[in-house]
């Protein structure tokens, strides 16, 4: 027996062979002929904010319990329909505003009352498979006591060069309505009681099978938002006054995503590398790098550890607090607009048994101003750490 590296001839034959319906489970572009129903549970919990950050006592933060039901139904060889129902309960306190403490040290003030809300979401998707690609259409609605979001979109894939190259493009539009609790009340006179925003995203990408073991993808996306883009529950300290969080009413966001998937047959494992660059006209620039390893164990198990690094610079108008007023009137002390970085560690386990699939995952996320490449004058005291545990079960019919 002699063996050399796979040649371009072998790659051509393999590409042609894998396009055959007999290998359909390996070729994504053919509709799965089996229905699939599943349930996913996840519990998200933010770490307590320290007594030091609040200059008083430590405080519990946000937590979310999420239940998601999923149904996938192929119809004939061409169409596939999917529906997702999500029920979530959220509770806890969140950062409200930041005041200057001793020698200018930022002190986080948390929202006093515990917020409790329930979110219901319904998403539907129809997908049509062609011999050279697929088209998908999605529509979704998400409702909470103070927030309603309606969105719809479509995307299309074209497979070229015997499926070695896939070109994708898509667009998504959402219209959101905000009716904040206690808006224009005696207690929160500067909190709005009604607002809307619109978001439009367009994206396009190209994915290339470089060889039998390697797939790379490059995608660009652009998002335009207008309307009320502030957080109605947040405030900012401005020269002794507490004012409503107030951000520009337009935002242009650009992102470049790169994905690499490298399979090693000898190891029965695959390396997943994901990188993202983000930039917007609020002055936020961010980078993400994620490295994961998907290892097959035994017949049916997959274990996937991964680590993700994220870093961003702050928005032009962001300050932890403001000692003077701004000419443009934009104020936000939201930690999500501050300069910071984060490291997230995740471990996932998947198993299949007959028609059943099971998965569990644990993620720990740690954010810190020390993890960013951007300059940080004063770290935001509201930076969050969180853990998510999730489990799912699904069955094919």
């Amino acid at each position: 027996m002699q063996l050399k590296k796979p040649s371009s001839s072998l790659l051509a034959l393999t590409t042609a062979a894998l396009a055959l319906p007999g290998y359909a489970p390996n070729a994504e572009a053919w509709a799965d002929t089996e229905s699939d129903a599943g349930y996913r549970f996840s519990f998200y919990k933010e770490g307590d904010i320290s007594a030091e950050a609040t200059n008083g006592h430590s405080s519990e933060r946000y937590q979310v319990i999420s239940n998601q039901f999923h149904l996938l139904m192929p119809r004939g060889e061409e169409w596939e329909y999917a529906a997702d129902v999500t029920l979530e309960t959220m509770s806890g306190a969140s950062p409200w505003y930041i005041v200057p403490g001793d020698s200018g040290k930022p002190i986080q003030v948390m929202s006093g009352a515990s917020i409790e809300d329930t979110r219901y979401a319904l998403q539907g998707r129809a997908r049509k498979f062609r011999e050279d690609g697929k088209e998908s259409f999605t529509a979704s609605v998400s409702n909470e006591r103070d927030y309603l979001s309606i969105s719809g979109g479509g995307d299309v894939d074209f497979e070229l060069d015997g499926k070695r190259t896939t070109i994708s493009a898509g667009a998504l539009y959402s219209h959101d309505t905000l009716n904040p609790t206690d808006g224009r009340s005696d207690r929160f006179p500067d909190r709005i009681d009604h607002a809307t925003k619109n978001t439009m995203t367009a994206y396009g990408g190209v994915s290339e099978i470089l060889n039998e073991q390697t797939v790379a993808q490059l995608a660009l996306s652009y998002t335009f938002s207008d309307g009320f883009l502030s957080d109605p529950y947040k405030e900012a300290y401005v020269a002794g006054n507490i004012v409503a969080d107030s951000r520009p009413d337009r935002r242009n966001q650009f992102a470049v995503n790169f994905k690499l998937r490298q399979y090693w047959a000898g190891w029965k494992g695959a390396l997943h590398l994901d990188a993202r660059y983000f930039h917007d006209d609020w002055g936020v620039a961010a980078d993400t790098v994620e490295l994961g390893w998907y290892q097959s164990v035994g017949d049916s198990w997959t274990v996937s550890p991964s680590v993700r690094w994220y870093e961003q610079g702050h928005a032009d108008f962001y300050r932890p607090y403001y000692t003077v007023t701004r000419d443009d009137g934009h104020y936000s002390s939201d930690y999500r607009l501050s300069a910071y970085g984060a490291l997230a560690y995740r471990l996932g386990v998947m198993d299949t048994w007959k028609q059943w699939s099971f998965s569990m995952a644990l993620e720990y996320y740690d954010s810190n101003d020390g993890y960013t490449l951007h300059s940080v004058d004063q770290a935001n005291p509201g930076l969050v750490d969180f853990a998510v545990i999730s489990a799912s079960v699904s069955r094919k019919f």
Partner: protein
Amino acid sequence: MQIHSYPFKAMGSPCELKLYAEDRAQADAAADRATGEISRLERVYSRYRPDSVTTRINRSAGIARGVDVDAETAGLLDYAASAYGESDGLFDLTSGVLRRAWDFRSGRVPDRKRVEELLPLVGWDKIIWRRPRIVLPVAGMELDFGGFVKEYTADCAAQACRAAGIAHGLVDLGGDIALIGPHPDGSAWRVGVQHPRDLANAIAYVELDQGAIATSGDYERFMEVDGTRYCHILNPRTGWPAQHLASVSVLAPQCLIAGTATTIAILKEEQGPAWLSELGLSHLCFERTREGVRQC
């Protein structure tokens, strides 16, 4: 977990499924799905059935508008086109027409003129293939899927077993073997390779824990006339049988590719083993010698 064996006959060869399952019922259900898939493909691509896709295509030879084919046949034709290109024209679905000159049961070598008369009907490059339509422009042309459908079927049958929940086992269609998965303890299957001259015995054993192995040789259908062996693997350019290699086995992730590679290697004659190395697939080749065969 128990191993269950299902011997049967299909595609003109002795076949066997070996399936590890929790119980007999699960193994039976998987075997039913696999054999159902095998008889479906045998029916669809048979040259002998009047309602087969092959017959429908071959009946359209000489008709300019051709016929439209289904997605699976289109996939096989795309694959055949790719194999034709990668083999410099040696792997050719149209070469089956040469059977009209070569009757291996007759014990008679056809005269050169008879073979030459058929050559104008051979050549994938003469076919017009634009998915989903195929045109065989010359009356008398034929497509023969026999050269690779057995291997494709082995892959499909293995896939059907996996879909039925079988993770360990193999599908053996007359020596073309597609693994469903290794033994339950993860160990490789030990697969015998047919001795090209001593048909009751194996000439070698190969350890296989994933993928497939296919074997072709000059012993499957042949005749010996005046001390020369004429086998069924016919060169589409000359119309005459390959002469150099007695047997070629190839390991590949798909049995389809393994089978295609064995055919091409035999048609490459002396260059066959080197071409397989170039292709990047593990292989075992035996060449003819005066005394018998020898590994090369």
